[in-house]
């Protein structure tokens, strides 16, 4: 019995492709949790990172909070949230968001700080307003690095979203948790493989977004 045997057995079993515990359903749930968590984390991390990066203020405080948040174990946080909030989407989302905010926030901040100051000085001297400088001068140049922060956050979310199954939610974590409790290793390996494939797809999506949104003038220089 090797791992490829498990994988083959899991995916060739037609019952795994139908119903509420079928691969399409679990995949859809997993993608859904991941998108919500990434969306919320980006909604927190991006504005704070952009503004602190643009103004240059609050960088140290930010790094401190981010480091502290990174030290929190996601699973431990999930248990605490379950005790405080019970079952549901919210206690599962909080650890994922807490996991994803630091890489987004810190890379966005660093990306903005690493923008060459002379075009910013030129823009200000030409009479551009501060929001215009942020969005039209700094952001386009900082974009590749910001996207890399979002990408690593997304990968972490996709792999960690498996813990949602612990609080009775769906997603690909179901196969792993159920498989472990049933000693059905075929299921465990199958679920893990799906998570890995989804992570690779995420990488591909970010590669495409990078290609479409980053100016050739910025990419050519790197």
């Amino acid at each position: 019995m090797n791992i490829f045997h498990f994988i083959n057995a899991f995916f060739s079993d037609s019952t795994h492709w139908h119903g509420y515990d079928g691969i399409p359903t679990r995949l859809r749930e997993h993608v859904q949790y991941s998108l919500i968590a990434l969306g919320v984390a980006a909604a927190i991390g991006l504005p704070v990172g952009l503004i602190t990066g643009h103004t240059g203020r609050g960088g140290n405080t930010l790094a401190l909070i981010a480091t502290a948040a990174r030290a929190l174990p996601s699973f431990g946080l999930l248990v605490v949230m379950f005790i405080l909030l019970g079952l549901g989407l919210l206690p599962a989302m909080i650890p994922l968001v807490v996991l994803a905010v630091p890489p987004i926030l810190v890379t966005t901040y660093e990306a903005m700080r690493s923008v060459d100051p002379s075009p910013v000085d030129a823009a200000r001297g030409m009479g551009m307003a501060e929001p215009e400088i942020l969005f039209r001068v700094e952001l386009p140049v900082a974009l590749p690095l910001i996207l890399s922060g979002l990408r690593s956050a997304a990968i972490q979310i996709v792999s960690t979203a498996t813990i949602a199954a612990y609080v009775s939610l769906g997603g690909l974590g179901r196969y792993i948790i159920d498989g472990l409790s049933q000693r059905n290793y075929e299921k465990v390996v199958g679920g893990a493989t799906l998570v890995a494939v989804l992570a690779l797809v995420t990488l591909g999506v970010f590669w495409a977004v990078d290609r479409l949104t980053v100016s050739p003038g910025v990419r050519g220089r790197a």
Partner: protein
């Protein structure tokens, strides 16, 4: 006119960057702020477009306090050129140049048409329009920087060490280009540099500043070279002050000797007639009138002059157009001690000895002193 009226910039830590500076910057001319690092020249420039606010004093633009209008309106009325150009790397060259017109609400087509016009004006190949900044050389990027500053046709141009980051040959080209542009456009330019030679070359007026943000001297470049206000200015001007000052004396008044020139196909009689005792050498010219080289009259064979055997004539100067410095340089470089004057087409107009040039310099200095007395 820009009027800086006893302006002081003091930072919270007590550092004084600019100390009670007063300057009147005349319209349609290049005013250069020059001095060692830490003399407050950049701070002064940046106070004119309010990138830095003065602690005391006022700056007036055409009689009105610059703080009385919205800061971005003020900045859009002044072109701004910085070291390393500061181009937007995510935008094409044409869109970089079109930035301020777009800010002022011009349509994309109109702004781009204007940008194309400016590319031509600053000597950039139109084929570069769709390129990105990283694909251009440092000198080309700086030209884009100048074009971008000129895009909305502002009356004032602020330039902060714009040519410091390029190599000397490119820098000279950019300086010449700026002078040519200025002759066409007549902007009020404030130019910051730490290079005194650059200041003397391009400035109509030069403000020499010293550490601590104080004005050491404010004068036209020729006056700076002839009458430095104090030891600091003299030291900052460096060596060869006298020779460099000659650049401001035209060669127009130089009396040329025209008899010491023979054509390459001259007859024996012509050579004999031209060889007078006070002319030890004859300048041989080609049939097109361009100088070929020097020869002692006795060494010339009528009708069979071999150009390869002539003495070199150094660098000729354009009579009436180039300065006494160029004439003196030509004479010093020539093995005969005589400089060759040419017209604009490069045809020999005459020759002139070191002695004659030296007399012209003495006369020019005397006239310069008289003029200074009248002005004073």
């Amino acid at each position: 006119m820009i009027r800086i009226d006893s302006v002081t910039k003091r930072y919270p830590d007590g550092t004084v960057a600019v100390d009670r500076l007063s300057l009147e910057i005349p319209d349609r001319s290049i005013t250069v702020l020059v001095g060692p690092s830490g003399c407050g020249k950049t701070t002064t420039l940046r106070m004119i477009n309010r990138m830095i606010e003065p602690s005391e004093g006022t700056i007036l633009l055409d009689g009105a306090d610059i703080t009385k209008q919205p800061v971005n309106t003020l900045r859009r009325s002044m072109g701004y050129v910085i070291q390393n150009a500061g181009l937007f790397q995510h935008r094409t060259i044409i869109d970089n140049i079109a930035t301020v017109p777009r800010l002022l609400g011009w349509s994309k087509d109109k702004a781009r048409a204007r940008a194309r016009e400016l590319m031509e004006r600053v000597g950039l190949d139109g084929a570069l329009a769709k390129r990105y900044p990283y694909q251009l050389s440092g000198g080309q990027q700086q030209r884009v920087g100048v074009a971008r500053a000129l895009a909305a046709d502002p009356p004032v141009l602020l330039m902060d060490e714009p040519f410091s980051a390029v190599d000397p040959i490119v820098r000279k080209g950019l300086q010449d280009e700026l002078l040519r542009l200025q002759a066409e456009l007549g902007k009020t330019i404030v130019f910051v540099t730490h290079d005194i030679d650059e200041a003397i070359k391009i400035g109509t007026m030069v403000a020499v500043m010293r550490t601590g943000g104080r004005l050491a001297q404010y004068a036209p470049p020729a006056e700076l070279l002839s009458d430095p206000a104090d030891a600091f200015v003299e030291d900052f001007l460096g060596t060869d002050r006298g020779i460099r000052r000659l650049s401001f004396f035209p060669s127009t008044g130089l009396e040329l000797t025209t008899t010491a020139i023979v054509a390459v196909d001259a007859t024996a009689e012509q050579i004999a007639a031209r060889a007078t005792p006070d002319v030890p050498y004859l300048l041989v010219t080609g049939l097109d009138g361009r100088p070929l080289g020097w020869s002692a009259p006795g060494d010339l064979t009528a009708g069979a002059v071999d150009p390869a055997e002539l003495l070199p004539f150094g660098r000729p100067f354009v009579h009436g157009e180039e300065s006494l410095r160029a004439a003196l340089d030509g004479a010093v470089l020539s093995p005969t001690g005589w400089a060759v004057a040419v017209d604009r087409e490069g045809r020999a107009a005459g020759v002139v000895s070191q002695q004659t040039i030296a007399e012209a310099i003495r006369t020019a200095h005397a006239e310069g002193r008289d003029a200074a007395k009248v002005a004073g």
